[in-house]
């Protein structure tokens, strides 16, 4: 209301006095406010410093970055053997990174899978920007996913056909996660609404049974069921592909959890919002689309992103049914005799890749939350 007067009066002291705020004051207040906390702080600093120095020694100072390869292409990992336990052997990454990233995708065609990774990331970045939140975004998604399909499969435009049981690595993880999230989300919205549809008891019980069934079993068993048991029930010849079945399992699994989160948002919304929409004569779907869901979904962004992060990492469980995702590719790479025993280095790299994706989601949701918080409270 009176931002001008506020601005004028605060212009005199834009900087808080020293030692009331600022890092020094913060440290004094939180880390050194008594001799006990000073002792704990110093002990922790010592432990962290030791661990940090140890890690730097291992990862950088003593590390082996490459090993000689003979003219016949035989790797000689003797250097790595000699420093095992003292230094990291990054040579394994240098030798195997393309296999880890792309799995068994034909070596000469791997640029296609690489372009797909870039396309996925571009798609995420574009979707994250609010200025692209328009109807056209759905078209962008369909278009991009189509291009990704064409690139991965090939068989047109002079690209060799690559059957999808040879896909693998990061593109596979991104495919499983992206379709998993993109299709689980709308399904979850419908299930959450169905679960609250008191006037349609059949729909309601169906949704409850679905949610409770899925929540009652671990994802591993859903995947096993999808890959081993499901084909037993299907007539011969009508047997959807293993990857498709695993993808369906991931979607159905993720949607059940997401539905419960969304239901929480629907319940948290004041009853008055539903009543005001009803009193204005909006239909059920208008009420949900225009009034209820926009508010309910904003409310549950943090737990939803929490779910997204969880299901992103859960895609790695397809390892157990032999789908070649990032984790499977890494495991297979490590099975090579020359590189046995260097799993730490490989898993560290995998952890960094997963961390980049998950942490970006987390940061993004925090930003979104703040932005929505502003627009509602304003």
């Amino acid at each position: 209301m009176s931002s001008t007067t506020l601005g004028a009066s605060s212009a005199h002291r834009t900087q808080p006095p020293l030692l009331v705020a600022g890092p020094l004051a913060w440290m004094r207040a939180n880390l050194f406010n008594s001799w006990l906390s000073t002792a704990v702080t110093l002990a922790l600093i010592y432990i962290l410093a030791r661990a940090g120095i140890g890690f730097v020694d291992w990862a950088f100072i003593n590390a082996v970055w490459s090993v000689p390869i003979s003219a016949q292409g035989v790797i000689d990992p003797t250097d790595c053997r000699n420093i095992k336990g003292v230094g990291a052997c990054w040579a394994v990454i240098g030798d195997k990174w393309r296999f880890i990233l792309f799995g068994r995708y034909p070596f000469d065609e791997q640029w296609r899978a690489g372009v797909c990774i870039a396309l996925f990331i571009a798609l995420f970045v574009v979707s994250a920007m609010r200025r692209f939140w328009r109807k056209e975004l759905a078209l962008i998604w369909i278009g991009t996913l189509f291009v990704i399909g064409v690139l991965m499969w090939g068989g047109v435009l002079g690209m060799n056909f690559v059957p999808h049981d040879t896909w693998g690595g990061l593109p596979m993880t991104l495919i499983l996660a992206t379709f998993g999230l993109a299709l689980a989300f709308p399904l979850a919205v419908f299930v959450a609404l169905g679960r609250r549809a008191t006037t349609l008891p059949a729909v309601r019980y169906l949704c409850i049974v679905y949610i409770e069934l899925v929540r009652g079993v671990p994802l591993i068993s859903v995947l096993f069921m999808a890959s081993v048991m499901f084909p037993l029930f299907m007539p011969v010849g009508l047997n959807p592909d293993k990857l498709l079945r695993a993808q369906l399992g991931i979607i159905l699994f993720g949607a059940a959890y997401l539905a419960e989160v969304i239901r929480g948002g629907l319940q948290a919304l004041p009853k008055g919002q539903y009543e005001a929409a009803d009193a204005l004569g909006l239909t059920y779907w208008q009420k949900m689309r225009l009034i209820i869901l926009p508010q309910a979904l904003r409310m549950v962004i943090p737990p939803m992103v929490n779910n997204f992060i969880g299901s992103f990492k859960d895609t790695s469980l397809v390892l157990i049914i032999g789908i070649f995702d990032l984790l499977t590719a890494a495991k297979v790479a490590l099975a090579e005799p020359a590189w046995q025993g260097y799993s730490t280095e490989v898993y560290l790299v995998l952890a960094v890749i997963y961390f980049i994706f998950c942490y970006s989601m987390s940061r993004y949701s925090r930003g979104l939350e703040a932005e929505f918080g502003r627009s509602v409270r304003r």
Partner: protein, 254 residues
Amino acid sequence: MSQAVATDRPPAISLDKVNKWFGALHVLRDVTLNVAHGERVVVCGPSGSGKSTLIRCINRLESHQEGRIVVDGTELTDDLRALDTIRREVGMVFQSFNLFPHLTILENCSLAPIWVRKMPKDEAEALAMEFLTRVKIPEQAKKYPGQLSGGQQQRVAIARALCMRPKIMLFDEPTSALDPEMIKEVLDVMIELANSGMTMVCVTHEMGFARQVADRVVFMDRGEIVESGTPHEMFETPQTDRLKLFLSQILRGH
């Protein structure tokens, strides 16, 4: 005061021996009430007497279990088409405003005309501005509800309901969530609306408002209509002990 009331036409709202239970709780007992077109009815009564339930039955935010409710010639049943018709004709203003916090004031007001009346967007926005001007806050159109005072929000809520051009307006204690200094600005809007000939059913304890605009005051207690009459009859010569007790409590409260 009741010269504008059309008594020759069928009533705008007609409740005939309406009964409603919440579980085992009998909240409306044989309620019979007719409201003529253009009539202004004020409903009062102690807390929990069923006033809100009564007016929420009129636009079927609550459903009744026995009896008949006919609104503007349409009987309220489980039929969805009847429900659609009623909700277009009946506007409602709530105690807690219930504006949509994620939409601007203008969007709050133009939403229902656009989606329910299928009005083009610019036409709906012009209409919204017209009613926002009538409730004297056109300058707030681009703001969000959270930026407005309670009194302003309630005036927006009235404008939002009026944008559907309803024949009947229901008010459920529209001023009781407001600070005293804001009550008048809302009551002024309601008085102006009453003077324009709108059919109104209003739950309120604002006796001054009742005296000034009501054609009839209805007193409810424990789910029954105990007494009804002109404001003058009701406040000067109450017949039942329950109304006398209620009035003495209200007056002491002021």
